[in-house]
């Protein structure tokens, strides 16, 4: 079994990419790695559609007047931007691509527990995506991605039911991914891979899966109720008929607040792997980082009503939800401090994945701290539905989640494709994304704080300077996102072949070939070491230094 460690002529080795050819071998594959690539292509497609809407929004806001699009069109633009980005890009992004690819390999399994259900989940995603595309092409939705009732059920005449159905179907794709991960992590670990030896990426995905499993069905039933109320004119959420619009908001945010943690937790997992590798250190406080993921998932279910502070919930409920929202900051801060402590006295390498991880650290910290502003009842009332909120959640969902996603894509690209990406370009892109992101969204904090409401297509002229800055930043950000796509595609054909472990990283996924064989390992791995044993990995080098001196 010396095949596993052979590094000569990796091109000729049989792997998951070259084992079969043809469209059928991809569309009917049950290999988790191929399904990850199917997801990668699909979510990239939707990312650029969502980005296209964002571009139009920013162009409209370049001038105070509503001159590029009409108000109705603008409503549809921000609605579709939100729906596509949340349900068809961010939710599946890291779990369905990197998680799908890495979870079985990191635990030392041949595949996920249910490979066919994994493929089914991709097909559900695609069906949901096609429904969403059809919905957009035939008129779209104008309620905002939140579907608030009774506007969505009794007033708007846009495609609510179809968009709801699209999200309902895509939701089941998300549930099945989470289910597969939990069963795989529980039942498919290689001999010796105990819970305390799991990479923290796995802990993060375990926590994410809990939210996907327990949260998504509530959104599904809420969508069913909206669709039934709208088509049959029932009074479940319509106050005119005795229903309660606040009930809708409770049910909606019961999923949609934890959904933010579906986006950020996997990103935290990615960043943990990257920081440990490029600091060449064991992660500081392993069990705290692991359990803080679980804590975020649990607390995340108890804070939803902080989206409703001005909606008319009782002041006592608001107080409780405010305090609970602060509580989420504790495990989040535990993570940030532990990452920082890991960096301390580490031997830090500034490769592209690490640049993204640094970007994540800064942006997530800003996003998280402004989240505390919003959890405070007094400030929340002041900035509700302003650009302050928009800036805050973009710092988390783009600054946090997407930075982590891109960092992870760079970190594992050699493993996924078997090719090295051009490092210089990648560092440049990371820099461009960071600058573009801050230029886009930092002005929005100020805009919101001085009173610019969200979801308006016109604004007073005194807001123009900051809006121009934001739009300029968005174009830079767009370039930053296009670059990796171009050089990743380029590297697939022209990139240098990647060695099995280009970063000298810990983790089972680096102990197999790049790209891996179809069943991941030529020989079932047996784990006898702790996660992040970088001191051991680097030990020979450390001994060599004094000898050379």
């Amino acid at each position: 079994m010396s095949m596993a460690t052979a590094t000569t002529q990796p091109v000729e080795r049989e792997n998951y990419l070259n084992k079969h050819y043809g469209v059928g071998s991809w569309l009917f594959t049950t290999d988790h790695k191929r399904i990850a690539l199917l997801y990668l292509a699909s979510i990239t497609f939707f990312f650029f559609i969502g980005g296209f809407f964002a571009l139009l929004i920013r162009l409209e806001l370049l001038t105070p007047a509503g001159d590029l699009v009409q108000a109705d069109t603008y409503n549809k633009l921000f609605t579709q931007h939100g729906m596509v980005m949340v349900f068809f890009f961010l939710i599946p992004s890291i779990p369905a691509v990197l998680g799908n690819f890495l979870v079985p390999m990191m635990v030392g399994a041949k595949d996920l527990a249910f490979p066919r259900i994994n493929l089914l989940s991709w097909y559900l995603y695609i069906i949901g995506g096609i429904l969403m595309l059809h919905c957009m092409l035939t008129g779209g939705v104008d309620t905002g991605w939140t579907f608030y009732t009774p506007f969505s059920t009794a007033f708007t005449n846009t495609k609510i039911v179809e968009a709801g159905l699209a999200i309902f179907v895509a939701g089941f794709s998300s549930i099945l991914t989470g289910l597969n991960f939990v069963v795989t992590i529980h039942r498919m670990r290689a001999p010796g891979m105990t819970w305390s030896r799991l990479p923290l990426f796995i802990w993060a995905h375990y926590a994410t899966s809990i939210i996907q499993i327990l949260g998504t069905p509530v959104l599904a039933i809420t969508i069913v109720l909206v669709a039934v109320e709208r088509t049959l004119h029932l009074g479940i959420f319509d106050p005119k008929l005795g229903g309660d619009p606040l009930l809708f908001q409770h049910l909606f945010w019961f999923y949609s607040h934890p959904a933010v943690y579906i986006m950020i937790l996997p990103s935290m997992g990615v960043v943990t792997e990257i920081i440990a590798c490029f600091s060449r250190k064991r992660i500081f406080g392993y069990s705290f980082v692991a359990l803080s993921s679980i804590a975020i998932a649990v607390f995340g279910f108890l804070v939803w009503a902080h989206h409703m502070f001005v909606a008319g919930i009782s002041v006592y409920a608001a107080l409780v939800f405010s305090i609970l929202s602060y509580a989420v900051a504790v495990p989040s801060a535990v993570k940030v401090f532990n990452w920082t402590a890991t960096l301390y006295k580490g031997s830090i390498h500034y490769d592209a994945p690490m640049l993204y991880a640094f970007g994540f650290l800064g942006l997530f910290t800003i996003g998280g701290l402004t989240g505390l502003f919003l959890a405070a009842l007094g400030i929340n009332v002041h900035v509700t539905d302003t650009y302050f909120v928009v800036a805050h959640f973009h710092y988390i969902m783009v600054g946090g989640a997407v930075m982590g996603y891109l960092g992870g894509m760079h970190f594992w690209w050699p493993k996924i494709s078997g090719k090295l990406y051009p490092e210089g370009w990648a560092r440049l892109a990371a820099l461009i994304v960071f600058i573009g992101f801050n230029l886009t969204f930092f002005p929005q904090f100020i805009l919101g704080y001085v009173g610019m409401p969200r979801r308006y297509y016109q604004y007073p002229p005194e807001f123009q300077v900051l809006n121009v800055l934001s739009t300029a930043g968005a174009t830079i950000l767009g370039v930053g996102y296009l670059l990796p796509m171009i050089y990743f595609l380029w590297s697939m054909r022209y990139g240098k072949p990647a060695p099995d472990n280009p970063w000298n990283a810990a983790g089972l996924e680096w102990k197999t070939a790049s790209p891996p064989p179809t069943f991941n390992f030529d020989k079932e791995p047996v784990v006898t070491w702790e996660a992040y044993n970088y001191e051991e990995l680097d030990a020979p080098h450390k001994e060599e230094v004094p000898v050379a001196g």
Binding site: T184, H186, P191, M193, P217, L225, V228, I236, F519
Partner: protein
């Protein structure tokens, strides 16, 4: 996870139902069972949203809900409860039959389970028909005027708008439950076909176990639905 079990590559000697990515049959069975339990957790949350809505409106509009609840037939609902409990018993007996290699009993119990399921759906259809005839289906032809609130003196009448919410929830909850029953019948048709082919052995009957888990879950949902919908304010 126990001791290392490296080198179990000899697939030939295994049950053909063992999929290649599992180490052994025990791992496969554990994975399938855990997967079904997790799926049932999602189902709990799925129905949970409805139960939440129900509890809120029941609290707000209790007298109207009581009046509306009186109009559905508790005897039919009670019969259906008994039918489903019997079907859960036959599911357990089917698994017992598979564990003890009694193929005829296995097939008989699966058929009996499906028969109970069909009886349940038949009675449910009769109840729906009654509601349709009485104009108690929410929508344009809904009519719940001059329906007395139980135990009110002087006599008060239920607010039709609020009663309509009860019926909306009644139809959505029992409708979703009936949909799960129909899916369950589909699963059991497949189980029956596998049992007919003799695929289940004392060592391998995982599909029966997870299909049975699903069936029990659907039964339990009904055990909650019955008192919540049929027995409001009945003494």
């Amino acid at each position: 996870m126990g001791a290392p079990t490296v080198g179990s590559a000899s697939h030939g000697s295994h049950n053909p139902a063992l999929l290649h990515h599992f180490v052994d049959e025990e791992q496969q069975r554990d994975a399938a069972n855990l997967g079904m339990w997790i799926f049932l957790a999602t189902e709990v949350m799925f129905f949970g949203g409805l139960f939440c809505a129900y509890l809120i409106y029941r609290g707000w509009y209790f007298p109207d809900f009581a009046a509306a609840s009186r109009s559905i037939d508790a005897l039919l609902g009670g019969t259906n409860t008994a039918v489903l409990i019997c079907s859960s018993l036959t599911v357990v007996l089917a698994i017992y039959a598979a564990q003890t290699s009694r193929r005829v009993m296995l097939i008989a119990m699966l058929v009996l389970t499906m028969l109970f399921g069909c009886v349940f759906l038949g009675i449910k259809a009769k109840e729906y028909r009654d509601k349709f005839v009485e104009h108690h289906v929410p929508g344009a032809s809904f009519n719940f005027d001059h329906e007395q609130i139980p135990g009110s003196s002087p006599v008060r009448y239920a607010n039709p708008r609020h009663a309509e919410i009860f019926f909306a929830l009644y139809f959505i909850m029992t409708g979703l439950h009936a949909l799960h029953m129909i899916i369950g019948l589909g699963i059991f048709t497949w189980l029956l076909w596998m049992a007919w082919k003799g695929r289940f052995t004392p060592e391998y009957h995982t599909p029966l176990e997870i299909g049975g888990l699903y069936w029990h879950f659907v039964d339990i949902v009904w055990i909650y639905l019955f008192p919540l919908l049929y027995l409001i304010d009945r003494h």
